[in-house]
């Protein structure tokens, strides 16, 4: 057995977990802040660590601490095994789905090809569909084992909704199969290329598939406007009505993980995945020094500017305690990070012992970093889009939801599949 390989796989897994989980607090913060922004109120702005509030970013930490230390109430009449199993299923399935999504191009180091993803399965897209379809068990089991009518109704709704929208999602994904001629996500991203005009969304069937996938992923993640399984105004809290403390937290996190996963797949399929717009991996590697200087220099500039903005908001004596110093602390932090960015961008090659960006390995690593950053940025945008929709659209009625799924999305999806076939044929015939 190749132990180095195993270690690399383990590292890949950990990296993936870190990537997803680090999104969670930011998303929770964004959700609360975004809701507040849309509802024209300040949102969380009180929790602080030594006076640093980071515009409410400290609030998620407080939430987690609260949930961890709350009493974990287990109602008497629940069916214990499944009651305990359900949140684990929900969370783990959500995480596992991400395994095939590439975060960056393949790295060639030391004679190894290391994909920046857990597994570059041949049947990647099918894997996503397969594992995503398991997510419903967490909700169903939660709903059923709670022995509560509301929870059961939530579970039923969830399962029906998931089954219905999985079909539309499958059809949308099938269109992408056709367009790219592969089910391997890595190949798909490579096929899309760095030019935004080559991305999945930039063709008629691709655009239709994108819209369908977007709608279906709202349903799959049980978020507004399709949050009928929890529907707090109808079913109290739906399937997780009997959960509290950390079990509840797991459902809560699962929802955000699902969001990230959905956004990640969306980006991968339709928006060029990790591709930096107009700059291909080869370009980065070939012009690594210049790229590094531009990218890190630009980042440093932005950070410095942000620090200046923070300093400009310094109002001594406003609160009369530590909070008064917050802008200064933030500015200093930002400037330190900017310094770090400058160092990363300009020092390699100058300092002995560290190879410069002209070195192939360094160039590859640079490309990976930039691509992961790009990917994170794209995912963040779509995650924000999810939040945005949640706080602006009202909830669908259940029959409307079903009608949308079966009577509109399904026929459109089938039509789109045919269209994609024609499209592929036509573009191969006339090289469109």
């Amino acid at each position: 057995m190749d132990y180095t390989g195993l270690i690399i796989v383990a590292i890949r897994c950990v990296f993936m977990l870190v990537f997803i989980l680090s999104f969670l607090p930011v998303l929770i913060w964004a959700e609360r802040k975004g809701a507040a922004f849309i509802q024209d109120r300040p949102g969380p702005n009180r929790a602080d660590l030594w006076g640093v509030r980071l515009a409410g970013l400290i609030q998620p930490i407080a939430d987690v601490v609260k949930l961890l230390f709350k009493e974990d109430v287990t109602p008497r009449n629940v069916y214990q095994p499944f009651y305990k199993l359900a949140p684990i299923i929900a969370m783990s399935v959500a995480l596992v789905t991400f395994a095939v999504v590439p975060l960056a191009d393949v790295i060639h180091i030391g004679g190894r090809d290391i994909p920046i993803q857990v597994s570059d399965l041949d049947t990647g897209l099918l894997y996503i569909l397969a594992v995503a379809s398991l997510g419903v068990y967490g909700i169903m089991l939660a709903g059923w084992s709670a022995n509560n009518k509301y929870a059961l109704l939530g579970g039923l709704r969830s399962s029906a909704q998931m089954i219905s929208y999985e079909i539309s999602m499958g059809l949308a994904v099938g269109v992408m199969f056709l367009l790219f001629g592969t089910a391997q996500l890595d190949d798909m991203v490579r096929a899309q290329g760095a030019n935004p005009l080559g991305w999945g969304v930039a063709s008629v069937p691709g655009a239709i598939a994108f819209l369908m996938f977007l709608v279906a992923s709202f349903a799959e993640t049980n978020r507004l406007p399709f949050d009928l399984p929890e529907g707090e105004s109808e079913l109290v809290a739906g399937y997780h009505v009997e959960y509290s403390a950390f079990k509840f937290a797991m459902f809560f996190m699962a929802e955000y993980v699902n969001m990230v996963v959905a956004a990640g797949i969306l980006v991968t399929l339709f928006f060029g995945g990790y591709q930096v717009p107009f700059v291909s991996t080869e370009t980065i590697v070939n012009h690594a020094p210049a790229v590094a200087k531009i990218a890190f220099g630009g980042a440093a500039l932005v950070l410095v500017a942000l620090g200046v903005v923070a300093v400009a908001r310094y109002r001594p004596g406003k609160f009369g305690d530590n909070r008064d110093r917050e802008p200064i602390v933030v500015a200093v932090l930002l400037w330190v990070v900017a310094l770090g960015a400058l160092a990363v961008g300009f020092l390699p090659g100058l300092v002995p012992g560290i190879p410069g960006y002209t070195d192939l390995t360094m160039g590859t690593i640079l490309a990976t970093v930039l691509q992961v950053g790009t990917f994170a940025g794209k995912v963040a945008f779509f995650a924000w889009f999810f939040i945005w929709v949640r706080w602006t659209l009202p909830r669908f009625r259940y029959d409307q939801l079903m009608r949308l799924g079966w009577s509109y999305l399904l026929p459109i999806g089938i039509f789109n599949l045919v269209l994609a076939g024609v499209w592929v044929l036509a573009s191969s015939r006339w090289s469109l």
């Binding site: 095994p81 399965l121 397969a130 059961l152």
Partner: protein, 165 residues
């Protein structure tokens, strides 16, 4: 070695879960046990280089068929208490068990000697490309027939289950 270990692991898990399916008290437990069996078998398939089949196993069986089962069980709200009124097993449980065991023994006895080694398979065996290639050329007619079967099943299910037409 790794492969063998994994195979025995999956095989034991699947058999134990299957026993749960057959003997379980609660329909939901049975369903979950069956999902575990199916998952373990998907693992077995992966070990046999049947990647596509394994994925489809999870997608179709675990993701669709079993969701349907669980959905129906929940829809009919079949709890364990329903089963307490009547015994779980039919009158034939003794004879059925014996005959099934005899069947298993006979089958296994036939198979024990079947120790031929597997052929060496090339890269991409059991992958999407190979299967698609075959499915859309040699097996195109069964493939289309299957779509007709599924269509008929959809229509039939709707007609049977609808309260009034």
């Amino acid at each position: 070695m790794f492969e063998q270990t994994m195979f025995y692991l999956f095989a034991i898990v699947s058999v134990i879960a299957a026993l749960f399916v057959v003997a379980g008290k609660n329909p939901i437990s049975c369903a979950i046990a069956l999902i575990v069996t199916l998952g373990a078998l998907a693992g077995v398939f992966v070990l046999q280089e049947a990647h596509f089949v394994a994925t489809i196993q999870v997608l179709v069986y675990a993701g669709a068929i079993m969701v349907l089962f669980v959905f129906v069980i929940m829809l009919l709200n079949l709890g364990p208490e329903d089963l307490e009124k009547t015994p779980r097993f039919s009158r034939l449980k003794g004879a059925g068990g014996i005959f099934a065991a005899a069947g298993a023994a006979l089958l296994a006895w036939n198979f024990v000697s079947y120790a031929a080694r597997a052929a060496r398979v090339g890269p991409g065996f059991g992958g999407l490309a190979q299967i698609s290639q075959k499915l859309f050329t040699e097996y195109i007619i069964p493939f289309e027939a299957i779509s007709a079967v599924l269509m008929a099943a959809v229509v039939g299910a709707v007609v049977i289950a609808k309260r009034e037409l």
